[in-house]
Amino acid sequence: MEEKQLTTDILIIGGGTAGCFAAAKLGKSGLSVLIAEKANIERSGCLAAGVNALNAYIAPGHRPEDYVEYARKDGAGIVRDDLLLTIAQNVNRITEELEALGLVILKDEEGRHVTRGWRNVKINGENIKPLLAKAARTQKNVTVLNYVNILDLKTVGEGEEKRVAGAWGVSTRERVFYDIRAKAVLIATGGAAGLYRPNNPGFSRHKMWYSPFNTGAGFAMGLRAGAELTTLENRFVALRCKDTIAPTGTIAQGVGAKQVNALGEVYETKYGLSTPERIYGTVEENRAGRGPCYLHTRGIGEEKEQDLLRAYLNMAPAQTLKWVEQGGPNSEDVEIEGTEPYIVGGHTASGFWVSTKRETTLPGLFAAGDVAGGAPQKYVTGAMVEGEIAAAAAAEYARQAELPELDMEETRARLAEVEGHYSASEESLRAEDLEEAMQKIMDEYAGGIHTDYRYNEARLAVAKERIEALEQAAKNLPARDPFDLLHVYELKERLTVARALIAHLAARQETRWHIFGENADHPERSADFDCYINSRMEAGEVVTLRRPLVKGGTYEHTH
């Protein structure tokens, strides 16, 4: 296998929303910046299909503090006020920067942004990713390494001296192994999909809400390198149109459609209108035998139907195609369902435990976007704010750091592991088989759709044992080519994240959020858990710890 050695001042892992914007912001830093991206930054990550709104924005008449208050309430207190405030203070400026990059934002006659509610601006976000990619790629000091899947972080030193030193990766197109040394690393690999058995497990197994190509690599790498994660148990489940997994908000808000059960009764007011409550209500109606549940659109009229068909083409074309094939929303209500759970720091609070400057507990490693924890409801603009903050902190760190020395011994061991997969017998199990097994275990024993998102201690114990067995089996998986190898490593990442998630679910012995974490042994909320559940890997085991809530000010690690 061919080996390549690269060095850079700052390595950005993942060229998505946060990663591209961080690179763009480092354009004038005078430092060398390398983006390693497993696909191609042009359309990679969550923004591939485009987005239809900027969900984090503050309309006139509201203050950043209102945003913090809102997110704190929605997250039932398990959020980081310091992180939320830095996001809220900057989202409007970021919106203007996006507009300057060429994004179409809806404006009224006086030139003001048109908002939906007080936290949201309407856009044509179909080309948002190419705009961000261009902002990154056109900086002279930024090099883009597409088609390189990063496997693990490199570290140097022990104990107090330990810091990040770069990363190892493999090409997804050729048999090439990369050894990248860096003074500082910014991780922006997004969240994790594909841990649980999805809504559509057959041919359309990737017809899911979150990007199926964001496999939780950052969480897994961070854990293995000794960094601390937070609040993984705050899973995210979305309310979606059945089968197509298209967003429901556009129908609910666009044409004012209400959630109704099979008897035609409006049930949403019975359970509450927050995101998890809307799903909770749907699950409960189904459990009571009053499903299927729908968004009541029948009779909205031809004109609104045409508007909806158009709106969905921009963000979820499958829904438009389905309406055309089978009858539109004016003639039929739209059936809805909850998705399988995801781990997404941009929606809920899961991810790296970071300081206000977005440094992780591993010195020299900074995190931004869906991979960073503590700050839910950050979405596109929040991920960009975090990219900017993390970039500034990484630059400051890189300026005083030395380039780590070559460590051939560790690198040899990594290379041997990769080559082991290429030479493994093809008669053994395949990554695809183990992925299905993992998703089934998580679904049945760790609170997936199968059990209406409920779990208990006994089930989690089974899940832990079986996931650990799969981790052993995954060591010998065969790979015929680089594409196979990508899937082997994606599976291994997911298994590590699944194991950590199980530990988090077991540690929070209460039900803080409906659906996101339904602990059947402890169905009520408990003040004993007004704290964060964090985790670290110690000697290969995931250990959890509690940390007190951070309420404002700035937070620095005391290590």
Binding site: A39, E42, R43, A48, F203, R205, L321
Partner: protein
């Protein structure tokens, strides 16, 4: 849901292989795009938006209610022309002006 490459139309420009967020598309020796894993498609349509010759068609899997219709996309300056063709031959077109924002 997934996509198909119409080999007779594909001119081998490679644009789609650079657009796919899952690296699912590659150019083969015959200089035609090839979908490596139809079951792994996210349905994001990124590939269709960069294809210069409408060589990529989109369809819904039967497991999510697909009945055999095919959808293609033509770029015409600031317009996107989406065409949906049913198995019986009925055609439907929807035009999207890319300068306009989503209203909902």
């Amino acid at each position: 849901m997934s996509i198909r490459i119409e080999k007779t139309r594909c001119i081998g420009c490679g644009a789609c292989t650079n657009a796919c967020p899952g690296s699912l598309l590659i150019l083969q020796e015959d200089k035609k795009a090839f979908m490596r894993s139809p079951r792994d498609c996210w349905g994001c349509t990124a590939c269709m938006k960069v294809c210069p010759v409408e060589a990529i068609t989109y369809f819904l899997g039967a497991d999510v209610g697909g009945r055999g219709s095919r959808m293609t996309l033509a770029r015409e300056g600031v317009l996107y022309r989406w065409k949906i063709q049913s198995p019986a031959g009925a055609q439907r077109e929807i035009l999207i002006d890319r300068r306009n924002s989503n209203k909902y």
